[in-house]
Symmetry: C2
Subunit: 558 residues, 2 copies
Amino acid sequence: MPTDIEIAQAATLQKILPLASRRLDIPEDSLSPYGHFKAKLSLDEVKRLSGRPDGHLILVTAISPTPPGEGKTTTTVGLGDGLNHIGKQAMICLREPSLGPCFGMKGGAAGGGRAQVVPMEDINLHFTGDFHAIGLANNLLAALIDNHIHHGNALQLDVRRITWRRVVDMNDRSLRDINVALGGPGNGYPRQDGFDIVVASEVMAIVCLATSLADLKRRLGNIVVGYTSQKQPVTARDLKADGAMAALLKDALAPNLVQTLEGNLAFVHGGPFANIAHGCNSLIATQTALKLADYVVTEAGFGADLGAEKFIDIKCRKGGLKPACAVLVATVRALKYHGGADPKKPGSDSLEALEHGLENLRRHVENIQSHYGLPVIVSINRFDKDQPDEIALIDGFCAELGVACVLATHWADGGAGAADLARAVVEACEQGAAKAAGLYADADSLADKIRSVASKIYKAAEVVFEPKAQAQMLEWQAAGHGGFPVCIAKTQYSFSTNPMLRGAPSGHTLHVRELRLNAGAEFVVAICGDIMTMPGLPKLPSAERIDVDDGGRISGLF
Amino acid sequence: MPTDIEIAQAATLQKILPLASRRLDIPEDSLSPYGHFKAKLSLDEVKRLSGRPDGHLILVTAISPTPPGEGKTTTTVGLGDGLNHIGKQAMICLREPSLGPCFGMKGGAAGGGRAQVVPMEDINLHFTGDFHAIGLANNLLAALIDNHIHHGNALQLDVRRITWRRVVDMNDRSLRDINVALGGPGNGYPRQDGFDIVVASEVMAIVCLATSLADLKRRLGNIVVGYTSQKQPVTARDLKADGAMAALLKDALAPNLVQTLEGNLAFVHGGPFANIAHGCNSLIATQTALKLADYVVTEAGFGADLGAEKFIDIKCRKGGLKPACAVLVATVRALKYHGGADPKKPGSDSLEALEHGLENLRRHVENIQSHYGLPVIVSINRFDKDQPDEIALIDGFCAELGVACVLATHWADGGAGAADLARAVVEACEQGAAKAAGLYADADSLADKIRSVASKIYKAAEVVFEPKAQAQMLEWQAAGHGGFPVCIAKTQYSFSTNPMLRGAPSGHTLHVRELRLNAGAEFVVAICGDIMTMPGLPKLPSAERIDVDDGGRISGLF
């Protein structure tokens, strides 16, 4: 089997404007091309489509992953191709890849094998520039804050209480904790600061949740950047930053259209990580896709404890989305890992390990059914080395649980390999059994919301708040932000905050280290355990293998 | 007169692919569209064109400017339109605007009035993403440096001797001098660091001087990022960063094609500042334009002491370009300022001030003739309030100097307003009197090169090197970098390093504070006086006025 990039580069792509015109009846002037194979759909067209009825929305989520991921994006693409393969009209909604994992450990995020969106290199590198625009809007606000303080600080911002951080789309641990404005009076007032990765920025969340340019600007203006010495919040609007930020983000808000290797259409738009942010592609892309197609397949990042929970409690709640069912991606590799297999110990990846690991699958299935209110289909993303008895074991376990289980081979076979999965999904959509509802009511306190997620989804025994977090919650509750949903930042490797606690742990403690008010995105982030909003590069970063030849052909992306 | 952005938004643009096909015979598949009105010319097409003969190259430069600038870009666009207006086939080569001045004080850089390149907002904001790619490539290298040290530092980089800085495309003084990697062992080894603005990055210079992807990668690999404790240089190639950096920059190297308000074609590509960097658009764009048009008008930033000197000594020297003549842009406003007029003192902008200020013009004219070897045409960029006796005074002064002087009204009248200028330029090109040569020989020492520029162009009495700068020069000389040209970073407001010293000062001292080796760009930067490679925002930044309405129309850009 050739590599992902080799498959992608060997593909013959169709020009995106005529393809969109033919397949979705989108006028070519409603699309702004970025090269011949990528385009942005105009916000005017988005508005024009809004009166149409919605198609079925299918969420692709996963069991708790291993570091390389279990193929959620690949399954989303495969299922979209599979639905088209069996004669349905389907679109795909994905997140845009971040350069952090691309240069770091995990690699790109445009699917894999024969289930990819293309042009793969473009999507994984700069794409249409959305992340650059988001980073710059974030950093413009940061520059305006320090500039305001430097030039007299009329708003009386307290340099000890600036909460807005700078960002870069890079894994760069040395920027987590920095001192800025050193070197004398000409350089401003020294203070402690730090960079997050772009995907953790509140601006990313705002772009992913805004429903129009007006809504985008309103949310940007609401961003709280810090506090005065009297502890009064100061907003981006107070700094007159919202207009310029919105101007920088005007094109970033328009959904990006690309194609799969099989010529089916996909929006790839917005890309918050699901461990440190809300983990779903843009609401505007999903809403628009629902107007354009009968079936829309979307993903939510990492395991169903993270992305899927935020999909339900943030994206669907805010956007009025009604998902029809969920596909839970599982791999033999990850299940064995949850059952105690150790990649370094040969033989430890036994059938017994697999059996134990199925508890992780059970927990996710039950959560999706009971707490997210969605019918589940388990999709085994097949790897070459998987054995028939391993597949049979998962199959039998799902039968006992009473959920459908499908073996999907889209990685090797494209849409045809996900035809069974597509048929199972169509059946679930047609049964209409979904009763999606959030885990908590808007009126619950912020603390109770965090406790709801912790007890229902993570099966934690208790939630411990740092005193500072406790004080913040009371303050924000009093300031009228209590109605916001919560966005929990924690490791993706475990239901707990300890990445080593695999399987289906219960009785653990959720330690809430720090809270961040996202008054523009309209949720509160709870940073739990050791999770960091700026990752680091590994000892052998993928960047070292990436290259481009004299003719412009890129290699080493995966 | 409506504002620049109102004029630009009222214009009816032609789709760029058919326009380029019709006007320049470029096949549509050789262009990659970015929206309907911007495109990148493929590097394959650049190579295919390279065998053709060259057109005439015209440099637009200026007297020492006031802060808002004297209309060099506007004149470049006007002259390009003017040449087409009088029936010549002409192209324009400009630099891409930086977001620093756009959000700061000076505003955008796409021309003005009826002499603009469009779409103005796109060009001034993200354009085709080149600056984002350059910033990211720069910061990837920075992340790889700190990551290498964190993971064992096999190359034995000395954290006290890292010379590579991070960048952002923003005026952000608080990032000039920072401490990074604080917060404990997980965040790396603490060290002193700083951010420059993207336009000062060596990566920007490399993109602007590289002649192919292979040359780009070679230069990126040669970047010296710092030194070991034994003072041995460590390069980007040693860190295996060059391949990924080149992959990030592959599209940024392809020239961007747009149109003027009159439908003439312009490359807008690369954008180093002329005060802190080498100040010219990309060599690849200029070389390609010379193959496509009979006349190519290009600009070099700020006054002729800065951009034009670097154009001759760096860009032409490296790229084998043979400019035919120079247009020196002057304004009544700036000449009065050089003669002592004070914007805050009514009546100080007298005819007498103008007369005194003409010494600045004389110095630039003489420098261009004697030291750059080019015929000069003085172009007065007319402002509405200019008086006939003021224009007559300049005219008479130029007659005495023996140089052509043309009143140009392209700002108000478009190409027709630059028809006289165009005719004067054609005449100069046809006379073929240019004997462009660098100020110094490659074999001169770095110190002598700096002294040449200081004595010949700035009329400085002496050059004082900080002891550290002195030591660096000897070291680089010994390491074989002595053959590089020098790129002097100094204020644009004076021939000296003191921005208050207007007119045509002589006998001053050039104080060389710091040197930076750009082993990839293949020049040495000499930082003189108080100039900083990261500007700051003013008290009332332009960003506060920029806005976008619900329909996506941007306002407040100028």
